[in-house]
């Protein structure tokens, strides 16, 4: 039982991170109908920027408690990522707004390679240690033998709060209405007095900020940062977004959580359920077959 519970906890932690990233994919797809493959790289830049900030703060003073340091670093990082996302949209996508669909996809991949290379030049190609600011010693869950760490609890809670906030923004505010209108019909939204360029920029910035947050979460959860770290989470989150029906916010959140759970439980149980026919390597292929089935 403790193993099952542990896998569910693992899945929830992983899933809430995927969900945050998936939201960025889904929002951009919603308003523009393109897949922003540079999204994972924004996450990586977020982790890198926050590492530099943390080093700066830690070199000035070491008396601040860990959570307070993170609280200072987080808004700055999210702002930087929002800015970066804005730039990506201006440079890589806006000039191609009316081009065939393949063009923005290619410029997205180009952007992703460019960002990785820039990060490699600034922060070196070495993997770097991320300071442990949140408690990482295992806590026993209800005496069952399954464990969760303080930082994992923070990740799940923060992700849930942010997702609820985003839903509120999109469903209940004027800006959200403008976003939904742009997503539905850009030209008609423009006729109704919505400035589509502004809405698209804001959407990109929101997505970027979420990616920055996810970057900090991944970095503090795994304790390592690396110029390559955005690729796999980006790919998985994209899968999550598709799983939830791309363009759909609630879908992306559920897709993220579901993907995290499938990944954990798959690694734990596929081997046993299939009598060893499928091992832990096949969990991803299983997932993709699920996807094509949907």
């Amino acid at each position: 039982m403790d193993i099952l519970l542990q896998q569910i906890i693992n899945g929830l932690v992983l899933g809430s991170i995927y969900a945050l990233i998936a939201l960025g994919y889904t929002m951009v797809y919603g308003v523009l109908g393109i897949i922003n493959f540079a999204h994972g790289e924004v996450l990586m830049i977020g982790a890198m920027v926050s590492l530099s900030l943390l080093r700066l703060i830690l070199s000035l003073t070491s008396d601040l408690p860990g959570w307070l340091t993170l609280l200072i670093v987080l808004p700055v990082t999210m702002a930087v990522c929002a800015g970066l996302s804005y730039l990506i949209e201006r440079i890589a996508y806006r000039p191609l707004r009316n081009a065939p669909r393949l063009a923005p996809l290619i410029s997205a991949i180009g952007m992703s390679i460019l960002l990785q290379t820039i990060a490699m030049m600034i922060w070196s190609r070495n993997p770097m240690t991320y300071p442990q600011l949140l408690p990482s010693s295992p806590i026993d869950v209800f005496g069952s033998g399954a464990t969760i760490t303080g930082k994992e609890i923070v990740i799940i809670v923060v992700a849930l709060v942010v997702m609820c906030g985003l839903l509120f923004l999109v469903e209940k505010t004027k800006l959200g209405r403008a976003m939904r209108a742009t997503a539905e019909q850009t030209q008609i939204a423009a006729l109704m007095g919505v400035n589509p360029n502004r809405v698209i920029s804001i959407t990109f910035m929101l997505g970027g900020a979420l990616a920055g947050l996810a970057g900090v979460m991944i970095a503090s959860n795994y304790g390592n940062v690396h110029f390559y770290m955005g690729f796999i989470p980006g790919l998985k989150a994209f899968t999550a977004a598709v799983l939830g029906g791309i363009g759909n916010l609630q879908g992306a959140m559920l897709g993220g959580l579901l993907l995290g759970l499938i990944e954990s439980l798959g690694a734990g149980y596929i081997g046993e359920l299939t009598g060893g026919v499928f091992g832990s390597t096949t969990k991803i292929s299983l997932l993709f077959s699920c996807l094509s089935w949907f």
């Binding site: 490699m120 190609r125 070495n126 690729f231 091992g279 832990s280 390597t281």
Partner: protein
């Protein structure tokens, strides 16, 4: 009198200016064509390792080792067949990807290199070796340990490290005898190297009567191992063996500790780097790992090499830089014996290599493997790699 003095001063000035220019050229990487004097022949040496991707730091370490050797040889001056030779390095990036590896191999063949130092991973050395073999160019891998690399019947494949057929059993012996494990869980990264090493380990450990409770596979770009580790935790092994690189082995070790797993984590040369201490954090005390060669601290000239390396590149030796360094010297040694820089002539004399390098005695068996393979076992004390045992094969 005054005239000849004037000429002397002028020529002295010209020579010193030329020297300054040459040095400046070297400082900028040393592979600029402009640094080659007109009376010398340029001979290219290829180097391949991943310079991008998760283990780019190890790739750069390898490249630096080769570069250091090359610069020293050029500085000392090299004459082959009466002609002054200047070596230049052609560094390529295979991104740890088998497909890219074959592409850059072709690129090096087209660039007419005299020999190749590389690749870093077994998973890239093996597919690339066919291309070097077809072109008749010597390939010396400084770090590929998969036995299959030299078993393909190619005359061009050489390596400077022991193989996993030696490394796997050495690790397995340590686990069964010194750690006295009764059960072991095995995880690999699904690469030719990681899976190969894990297979060799599994064979020996089973023969020693230790039970393999589970065999899991991840991949070489994974960051989250909690799901697999949770499953491993359920099987309560005494030891976890991981076949893979430090970029994945570090996080794996750390996450195992976070899940409250107390088992030792045992791994091969891919994760046996100084960087591992940083990547695994405090959990690195659980690690025992092996290197498929002599420990840097046990090499006769090791400390001196480390000092020169640090002065030149301002970073510490990760793991296989001494081996790429020696690989360049092995190629040059063959050029001298063949009295030629022609790849086919170099290849002819390669089997007779007999020299003492930084890493010890270098001589090859008929497959191109080291005659005297060495395995060094390490653990980590105060976050520093510490030699446990040196095993001569």
């Amino acid at each position: 009198m005054s005239d000849s003095k004037g000429i002397f001063i002028k020529s002295a000035l010209a020579v010193s200016a030329a020297t300054v220019l040459m040095l400046a050229g070297c400082g900028k990487g040393g592979d600029k064509a402009s640094s080659i004097p007109s009376d010398a022949v340029e001979v290219k040496i290829g180097h391949v390792a991943p310079l991008t991707g998760p283990i780019a730091h190890l790739g750069k370490d390898n490249e630096n080792g080769a570069r250091l050797a090359l610069e020293e040889i050029n500085k000392a001056g090299l004459t082959i067949d009466g002609k002054k030779v200047v070596l230049t390095l052609v560094p390529e990036d295979d991104a740890e990807d088998p497909k890219t590896a074959t592409q850059v191999a072709q690129k090096l063949v087209d660039a007419k290199v005299a020999g190749v130092v590389g690749h870093l991973n077994s998973g890239t050395s093996i597919p690339a070796s066919k291309i070097y073999s077809d072109a008749g160019i010597t390939q010396i891998s400084p770090s590929s340990t998969n036995p299959d690399y030299t078993k393909q019947g190619f005359k061009t494949t050489y390596r400077l490290v022991a193989t996993d057929a030696q490394q796997g059993p050495a690790l397995a012996d340590y686990v069964s005898k010194n750690l006295k494990a009764k059960t072991v869980a095995i995880i690999d990264d699904s690469t030719q190297y990681g899976k190969g090493l894990a297979d060799e380990f599994e064979k020996t450990i089973k023969a020693a009567g230790v039970k393999v409770v589970t065999r899991e596979a991840s991949n070489n770009k994974a960051t989250d191992f909690k799901a697999i580790l949770t499953k491993v935790k359920g099987t309560k092994p005494d030891v976890i063996m991981y076949g893979g690189m430090d970029a994945t082995g570090g996080p794996l070790t750390k996450q195992a500790a976070e899940l409250g797993i107390k088992a030792k984590v045992v791994g091969g040369d891919g994760m046996c780097t100084e960087k591992l201490a940083e990547l695994a954090g405090d959990a690195v005390v659980n690690v025992v790992c092996s290197e498929a060669g002599m420990a840097l601290s046990k090499m006769a000239q090791g400390a001196d090499f480390q000092k020169r390396y640090k002065e030149r590149f301002n970073s510490d030796v990760q793991i296989y830089a001494p081996f790429t360094y020696d690989a360049v010297y092995v190629l040059v040694d063959s050029m001298k014996r063949a009295n030629s820089t022609d790849p086919s002539k170099i290849l002819l004399v390669m089997p007779d290599t007999k020299m003492t390098g930084l890493i010890g005695n270098i001589a090859f068996d008929n497959k191109g493997d080291m005659k005297e393979g060495v395995i060094t076992l390490y653990d980590f004390k105060d976050k520093k790699k510490t030699v446990l045992e040196v095993i001569k094969m």
